[in-house]
Symmetry: C2
Subunit: 191 residues, 2 copies
DNA sequence: TCCCCTACGGGACAAATGTCCCCTGCCCTT
DNA sequence: AAGGGCAGGGGACATTTGTCCCGTAGGGGA
């Protein structure tokens, strides 16, 4: 829980009072999931957004051929959940599962909304995250339409060098939207 | 200006008072640009976000080889601008130019922030847009990493059937991240 | 301890996509 | 009215990417 407090304080640029911390703590629920357990499955409504305290998760879809496509990775200090399902209450197309034993802090939409409405550090944080999300999503769209797989891989390494250590190559390939074969060729060329 | 008022009212689900309309009107600046004129050029800081009253625009980058990559189209009732440059005050990588004679309503970040802080319809609208933006950006990322060009084209047609009439095929191809050749082949197959 | 599953890489081939020509017709400008 | 530029499409070919085999090594679970 301390990590979450620190997160709100850093992102908002303000300090939380003890009272606010108590209120935040009362709205989040600690959850532990083991490797390969699911936080969300295709068809579910995403009722919770989750802050990763420790561990790692992936958000992915499965197509008709059974291929998995990873939309997001999440590690300590990141949020996971399907925005669309969470805000519109529609069934999700995605699955979220854990890549290792993971500790989460989960919250419902109404509880989150209440914290946003009453704690300025929370509302500032959410606004900041939301803006960041748009910016990074647009960067990724731009990368997808304008860069070669090789350039996208290089950019990923530059932005998140730890991903290569943390996640297996087949997942990296899936995240980049390429086959493991192409990723393998890229890695051969660059060494 | 009426279109903008209606836009805020619909998106926020609330009505604007005459006073609020006046305040909004005083912060936006009407701007007319003719076909091929630029609203933003690579290297500029994006000082204004613009609401398109009438006309059409595109946001695109130019790579080392001189190829253009269209990140966004905008038509009547849409916003154009580079989020990253606008919020972080960094030089933009994008160009925005008009695809026909266009009427815009432009606003600076500080003026927009003031309207957000003082008019609840505006703040609700911006929050709603922001959420929508994230959702649609994630859909587009998902499409890019999980679908074939053919599927992406079909999805684009389903979502924005008017794009095909409104924009030339080379721009559609650029938006989809494929060559005009591939787009041509797709269109031949589907008829 | 053993076994199985998974990650990872290689080779051969197929399929998809891009590039570079060409040509045509149309619109806009002069 | 004429000319220039651009959208669009076709053919031939190169390149990239994916698919389907295969094998190996290592780690986790029974």
């Amino acid at each position: 829980m301390e990590l979450l407090f620190a997160y709100f304080e850093v992102k908002s640029g303000t300090l939380l009072t003890d009272m606010e911390k108590k209120r935040i703590a009362s709205r989040f629920l600690a959850k532990r999931l083991r490797k390969r357990q699911y936080l969300l499955q295709e068809g579910d409504i995403c009722k919770y957004f989750s802050f990763i305290v420790q561990g790692a998760a992936r958000t992915y879809s499965v197509d008709e051929k059974g291929n998995e496509h990873i939309l997001h990775f999440g590690t300590s200090g990141w949020w996971v959940g399907d925005n669309e399902s969470f805000t519109l209450h529609t069934p999700t197309r995605y699955n979220i599962d854990m890549l290792g034993d993971t500790e989460l802090l989960v919250i419902t939409e109404s509880d989150l909304q209440e914290l946003i409405d009453t704690i300025s550090a929370v509302s500032k944080t959410i606004a900041a995250i939301s803006s960041q999300r748009v910016i990074s999503a647009e960067k990724r769209i731009h990368a997808a339409i304008s860069q070669t797989p090789e350039e996208r891989f290089a950019a990923l390494n530059a932005a998140y060098p730890d991903f290569l250590q943390k996640f297996p190559l087949n997942m990296i390939a899936s995240y980049l939207g390429i086959s493991t074969k192409t990723l393998g060729r890229i890695r051969n060329n660059s060494k």
